[in-house]
């Protein structure tokens, strides 16, 4: 800690420091805290987003707790969250594999190559995926048809219906599945979205953690005849645990508050039958479609507290073992 303490009585000589803080704090106060405050305030109002606001107490919150759509939305987000936990794995594996490549030069080249796709703007990635899922011209259906995987799906589906594990046929012979247009396929499509799920920032962060492992550790392990998997579990995984945790926090915030994906791939009503409605999107839908901005604010606040709680739990219980 090289920080120099300035006491209150010294403030006369150090006031310019506050001047340096002013732009940052000013922006934060105006564009973060002020909206948050009015948002909290308006969550107690029936507000249409425009000038019409009536105080209704906690009605918005009671409504939110009984609203089946919200329950559904949180269920969807829960599924997506769990799926995203698994979607972290390819990044970790990729980082470890790159790390285990022996030649320094090759390692660097791989890193560069994996960074390149980052230049595709996010919107383009979304739209390309939407294009992949297109039932008529999409790549996914062409692939499934060409490899006869679709027939397999159809058979599996029929079997599941026969043994009463599934109640309806989702895949049918000679019929292209409408990934984003079928209420039972939307969630799987959203989970599959982004395959092979390699986030380059994540990979780079894991790599920087892995690089701290001293060579001697590997040498010892080799001498003891430790296999590749145990190396991964006992040497590599613990060292990137911190980074994994950081990513987990980012993931929680990201998954819970993101809805741009659904907005672009589906639309503001959450796709067929509202199957992919998530809380963020529901908030957006209420505010800008249905004009229930007060209710939307209440949903936003609920969301905030849930994120806060999950982050807290994560910090508390997902311990890093040194």
């Amino acid at each position: 800690m090289a920080r120099q303490t300035v006491r209150l009585r010294q403030i006369k000589s150090h006031w310019p420091l506050y001047l340096l803080l002013l732009p940052a704090l000013g922006l934060i106060a105006t564009f973060m805290y002020l909206p948050a405050a009015t948002g909290i305030l308006h969550s107690f109002y029936r507000w249409d987003g425009d000038e019409l606001a009536t105080y209704i107490g906690a009605d918005n919150f009671t409504k939110a707790f009984t609203d089946p759509t919200i329950r559904h939305a949180f269920a969807v987000v829960g599924i997506l969250f769990v799926a995203n936990l698994f979607k972290m794995i390819p990044s970790i594996i990729t980082a470890v594999v790159i790390h285990r490549v022996i030649s320094d030069k090759a390692r660097y080249v791989y890193r560069l190559l994996f960074v390149v796709p980052m230049v595709i703007p996010g919107m383009v990635v979304l739209l390309i995926w939407k294009f992949f899922y297109n039932p008529v011209v999409g790549l996914l259906n062409s692939f499934l048809t060409a490899t006869h995987l679709l027939d397999l799906f159809v058979k599996a589906n029929a079997w599941l219906v026969n043994v009463h594990l599934a109640d309806k046929a989702i895949f049918m012979a000679d019929r292209s599945p409408a990934w984003l247009g079928d209420s039972s396929l939307v969630i799987p499509a959203l989970i599959f979205w982004g395959f092979p799920w390699i986030g380059i920032i994540g990979v780079l962060i894991y790599l920087s953690g892995l690089e701290k492992i001293p060579k001697s550790v590997y040498e010892c392990a080799d001498l003891d005849g430790v296999g590749w998997f145990r190396k991964f579990v006992y040497i590599e995984l613990p060292l990137i645990a911190t980074q994994v945790r950081i990513n987990l926090v980012l993931l929680i915030i990201g998954v819970l508050s993101d809805y741009g994906l659904m907005l672009v791939l589906l639309d503001s009503s959450g796709g067929p039958g509202g199957a992919a409605m998530v809380p963020g999107l529901y908030m957006y839908y209420n505010a800008f479609m249905k004009r229930e901005a007060g209710y939307a604010c209440a949903i936003g606040i609920l969301l905030f507290f849930i994120i806060l709680a999950l982050t807290f739990i994560n910090n508390k219980f997902v311990r890093v073992e040194k």
Binding site: P135, V136, G181, S268
Partner: protein, 555 residues
């Protein structure tokens, strides 16, 4: 300064960035300047913005041409188009209305059920009521036969498409009209079938068979009819109207010429009308026959996917509206032709005796409706522009350019659009199978029938079971909605009554002549109450009938 330059040279990326940024600043500044109505060496212009969701290039160009003509006439005005895709349109308009950044003119009326409920509120709050303009003649009609005719009366539908019933006021100015037709790939049809398109259903079916065979023989992914659930409905409705037109008199117990949802639900529920009756059965069996020629799984295809199939020559036909004529015409590499959905001929042994005639289009209203926002700084100019756009000459011109149907009396559409002229000869739909509350069941079970999984008897049996389960509650829902409409009518009647007793404030809000409006509202109210009472009486009669054991139900 020099050192900065030296520094920059050391970092070519930074240098590049600075240069690109400078360029982008210029672009942004120029756009901002022009957006505010500025132009080099001229006075500030009044900028009007018009937002709509007609993204097709041809439509855009036609409106640009209209704007250019208008600007020539009014050099101090600049009109700009804002094009927003239909999917996000309602949300966009909503946002702009809240943000007070809404453009001067907005195409209104999208947004599905949510939008349907909110538009009346938007009109009342953000849009200019146009009652006092629509009864004045359109100044741009000077020198034509319509010179002294009130603006409203220059419309083919007397501007019914601009009238907002819930507010009993005019809020929209329609620019075009639309009808729906069967489009076909002329080259393909001629190659496989012959030069004349089938005029009867029998020939049509034969042609579909030939097309399917042709596709199989040439190993092409060819389907006769490009269909999505949306396109399929158009076929279904056409045949339903044709087969069941004679149900009007037996079902229309209140004699108002319309079979309401309850009027058709009651008899089906009680069994007075059975789905196994021959015309209805014929209707379903015909459509079942036809659905063989739709793509597999068409119910889950979307509209633009069906259009894509058609445009690529992988489908020979598609049903869609006249609004697609231009974009289909431009993008297709084959000859495009338009016709009616063919009906079975009278001599058809299975269907012939039930066919009344085609579906009528006499009741269509003007579409592409534009509203003027209250927050517009140049509302008068915007209205002037709309008057210009709906003058006899210009409405004809712009619609010719868009390949759409004009809305002004005497304006001539393009010759190619002749097949789209709304035919007043025909029948209105006279029965509804779905039944209030049973729509979901109908959708699911009818698809199973159409895809061949159920026989007709199984379909009717399953559907009627669902019908008896769902419809009583559905009818209660319909009636509850009716109550809300009635309540709404009374709400407006109350303002008018307040205005008639000269209550301050109410007079300011009420547009037009309050006494006349009050009379209108009360008449509309009485008519609706009449329909409701009659519907309920009919429903209870049928419900009583349904409770009686079979055999006693003859009346």
């Amino acid at each position: 300064m020099l050192s900065l330059w030296e520094n920059l040279r050391k970092y070519p990326a930074l240098l590049l960035l600075v240069l690109v940024f400078a360029a982008s600043c210029v672009v942004v500044a120029v756009n901002a300047y022009r957006g505010a109505g500025g132009a080099v060496g001229q006075e500030r212009k009044k900028v009007l913005r018009i937002a709509h969701w007609q993204l097709e290039q041809g439509i855009r160009n036609a409106i640009d041409q209209l704007i250019a003509d208008y600007e020539k006439l009014h050099p101090d005005v600049e009109v700009r188009q804002i094009l927003i895709p239909e999917t996000g349109y309602f949300q966009w308009v909503n946002t702009q209305l809240i943000g007070r950044t809404a453009p001067d003119m907005i195409e209104v009326g999208s947004g599905g059920t949510v939008g349907w409920a909110l538009w009346p509120k938007f009109y009342a709050r953000y849009f200019l009521p146009l009652d006092r303009y629509v009864d004045e003649p359109n100044p741009y009609n000077k020198g034509t036969a319509l010179e002294k005719v009130p603006w409203r009366k220059t419309y083919f539908d007397e501007m019914d498409g601009g009238y907002e019933e819930t507010l009993q006021s005019y809020y929209r100015i329609p620019l075009s009209a639309f009808t729906e037709r069967l489009y076909y790939n002329k080259d393909l049809v001629e190659e496989v079938w012959g030069p004349t398109f089938p005029t009867t259903y029998e020939e049509f079916l034969e042609m579909c068979r030939k097309l399917a065979e042709y596709g199989k023989k040439n190993h092409r992914r060819l389907v006769p009819i490009a269909g999505s659930g949306y396109n399929f409905r158009q076929f279904f409705n056409a045949y339903r109207t044709a087969f069941t037109a004679d149900y009007l008199d037996p079902l229309d117990v209140d004699w108002n010429g319309v079979v309401s949802r309850i009027e058709s639900a009651g008899p089906i529920y009680s069994g007075r009308v059975k789905l196994t009756e021959t015309p209805i059965r014929a209707n379903f069996e015909l459509v079942r026959e036809l659905s063989e020629f739709f793509p597999q799984g068409y119910t889950s295809l979307s509209r633009d996917e069906a259009v894509f199939l058609f445009l690529q020559g992988n489908a020979a036909m598609i049903t869609t509206g006249s609004w697609d004529y231009e974009s289909l015409g431009v993008q297709s590499e084959f000859h495009l032709a338009v016709t009616e959905i063919p009906l079975p001929s009278k001599s058809n042994p299975r269907y012939g005796s039930y066919v009344a005639g085609p579906q009528t289009e006499a009741g269509i209203h003007g579409g592409f409706p534009i509203g003027v926002t209250k927050m517009s700084r140049n509302a008068e100019v915007a209205l002037d522009f709309l008057q210009y756009a709906t003058s006899l000459k210009k409405n004809e011109e712009v619609n010719r350019a868009m390949y759409w149907l004009p809305v002004i009396k005497g304006a001539e559409p393009r010759d190619e659009l002749r097949p789209f002229a709304p035919h007043t000869e025909g029948y209105s739909a006279s029965i509804e199978y779905e039944g209030p509350g049973a729509e979901m069941a109908y959708a699911q079970i009818s698809i199973e029938y159409l895809s061949g999984k159920l026989s007709y008897e199984e379909f009717v049996d399953q559907f009627m079971r669902a019908y008896h389960r769902e419809v009583p509650a559905g009818i209660q829902d319909v009636l509850r909605n009716d109550e809300q409409t009635l309540n709404q009518e009374m709400r407006f009647a109350a303002i008018r009554r307040a205005a008639l007793t000269s209550a301050p404030g109410a007079t300011a809000v009420a547009t037009g002549d309050s006494a006349a409006q009050y009379k209108r509202i009360m008449e509309a109210y009485v008519a609706q109450v009449g329909v409701r009472d009659s519907d309920i009486r009919d429903w209870t009669d049928n419900a009583r009938l349904a409770e009686q054991p079979a055999g006693q139900s003859g009346r």
